[in-house]
């Protein structure tokens, strides 16, 4: 049982990352690979600041700013230097590895017996339950903020930027600036996931970001499949499904481990699982879809 509770906690931790990928991939239509780097960056900054006795809210603000900066950098390379978004993301992600290891000075920083966001309030005597309540509250607040943002005039402009660039430019929006802002927002959210995971698992590791983008993609793809299937147009429901996607994804991994699959094969299982979700709707609706 505890095993699955941990999966749920992991899923909640990765919700911010899933929302970030939802913004870059679904709203802006940009495949952003900066994720692996900005996630680790968030975790690295968390570890360093907490080790130095900084309060958790200062840590959070710093993590958001750092992630935003990384995303903005990818955005600037993509829009101003006209470099393919995928390559721009890979460049920033690669450079971030050096930034992260230089900041940490070591490849692993344990966070044991230090105050964290999860020791802030004591709701339940059981550590896991306590973590669950705090994480849930945190995720609800983030979701409310993003949902509100997407409903504002600024948010509608963001959604239009990824949908019809010629239209939104003719309606007075600087699309380059909008994309930079969007990627900054997406990576700030990703870094927040790093912030949560490092505190939840009690350490930051330089390699913890490897392949983390697939968690975000998988969560968003699960959500997208359901969105298309149920013909959902509401922003709030879409965001809820993205959160659901992040949790489902962790449960699939937990089940895989639970039935005794070798942990070394976990990344392979992940890839096959994502492939399945992507391809299943296409196979079953083959007759009436043209794409």
């Amino acid at each position: 049982m505890d095993f699955y509770l941990t999966a749920l906690l992991q899923g909640l931790c990765f919700s911010a990352l899933a929302l970030g990928i939802y913004i870059s991939m679904k709203i802006f239509n940009i495949p952003d690979i900066t994720t692996d780097g900005s996630y680790t960056l968030g975790a690295v900054i968390t570890a360093i600041l907490i080790k130095h006795g900084q309060p958790t809210y200062i840590t959070l603000i710093s993590v958001i700013l750092a992630g935003g900066l990384a995303g903005a950098l990818t955005g600037i390379i993509h829009t101003k230097l006209k470099i393919n978004a995928l390559l721009a993301g890979i460049l920033v992600m690669t450079a971030l590895y050096s930034v992260n290891i230089s900041l940490m000075g070591t490849s692993n920083l344990p966070l044991i017996n230090v105050p964290s966001i999860f020791t802030l309030i004591n709701i339940s005597a059981n550590l896991n339950y306590n973590t669950f309540w705090i994480l849930s509250a945190f995720v609800i607040v983030i979701t409310l903020i993003i949902g509100y943002l997407l409903k504002t005039d600024f948010g509608i402009s963001m959604r239009a930027t990824g949908n019809s660039e010629s239209m939104i430019r003719s309606l007075g929006v600087n699309t380059d600036r909008m994309k930079i802002t969007g990627l900054a927002l997406a990576n700030a959210l990703t870094a927040v996931s790093g912030y949560l995971v490092s505190q939840q698992q009690g350490f930051t590791d330089i390699s913890m970001g490897i392949g983390v983008v697939i968690i975000g993609l998988g969560s968003v793809i699960i959500a997208e499949t359901l969105i298309n299937w149920l013909k959902i147009t509401s922003i709030w429901l879409s965001l809820l499904l993205v959160l659901g996607g992040a949790i489902i994804f962790q449960f699939v991994l937990a089940i895989t481990l639970d039935i005794g699959v070798n942990p070394n094969l976990l990344k392979g299982v992940t890839a096959i699982f994502v492939l399945l979700i992507v391809s299943l709707p296409r196979i079953s609706f083959k007759g009436n879809q043209n794409d």
Partner: protein, 249 residues
């Protein structure tokens, strides 16, 4: 209203495939003029319109709108006075957004897009009222994604969207090229009404010589990036439809 002086646009300058798309054009469009541009493919019509809109920048020459030199302004800045309808209905609207959200963006074309929610009941009713003037029954579908509508419906809505916020210049780039005759007719009539009611200065590019004949008070024929013929009001009304066909003969 729109003053174009010695405007040139050269694509692939200095290369074997160099194209002088717009070649030293001087054009002065008076306020509330409705200019029709015709010309063969590759004559530079669309490039000229894109230059006016600001989505491409000239190699040399200047463009002024309402006595303001806008030559170096990108399209999203010129949108303060210019609204556009594109050839492709997809380009003028956002498919995944609801009709309502599309109209919301259009209603703040000249304003900043801030962090407040602008879609409220007052706005919804305003949009419904506007859309009902089309008589297409779309006023009850404003929550639907724009992508569920036909090309003709989308073009008609794009026209309405152009006057949701203050607008001086309307650019129509073959707005009916992708439409069936009936939808094309609705779109052109709507365009004419809007241009008249809001006293807009407008430019229409068209390959439909009937439209070129029926609409506008000035017509120019373009060829190889230059203005070949330029007929003002009286000359245009004296023009016969067959004369137009002869231009392409």
């Amino acid at each position: 209203m729109i003053d174009i002086n010695n405007l040139n646009k050269i694509f692939n300058a200095g290369q074997p495939n160099q194209v002088n798309a717009v070649n030293g054009i001087d054009l002065h469009i008076k306020s509330e003029d409705f200019l029709v541009i015709v010309g063969a493919n590759g004559s530079g019509k669309t490039t000229l319109l894109n230059l006016v809109a600001g989505s491409v920048f000239p190699s040399s020459g200047t463009i002024s709108i309402d006595s303001e030199n806008v030559t170096k302004q990108p399209d999203y800045q010129r949108s303060r006075s210019i609204a556009r309808v594109f050839q492709n209905p997809m380009s003028g609207t956002a498919s995944d957004l609801s009709i309502l959200d599309n109209f919301r963006l259009a209603s703040i074309r000249t304003k900043s897009k801030g962090l407040s929610i602008g879609v409220n009941d007052t706005f919804k009713n305003q949009v419904k009222e506007k859309i009902s003037t089309l008589g297409l029954g779309l006023e009850n579908k404003i929550e639907q994604p724009m992508g569920t509508l036909s090309g003709g419906q989308r073009q008609a809505l794009t026209l309405l969207m152009s006057v949701m916020d203050s607008c001086k210049v309307l650019l129509l780039d073959e707005p009916t090229a992708a439409l069936d005759p009936r939808s094309a007719d609705i779109v052109m009539r709507t365009a004419e009404e809007i241009i008249r009611d809001y006293r807009l200065t407008s430019i229409l590019i068209t390959h439909n010589l009937k439209d070129a004949f029926n609409y506008g008070n000035r017509i120019i024929l373009m060829g190889e990036g230059k203005i070949v013929k330029d007929l003002e009001k009286d000359q245009k009304s004296a023009l016969k439809q067959t004369d137009l066909y002869d231009w392409f003969g």
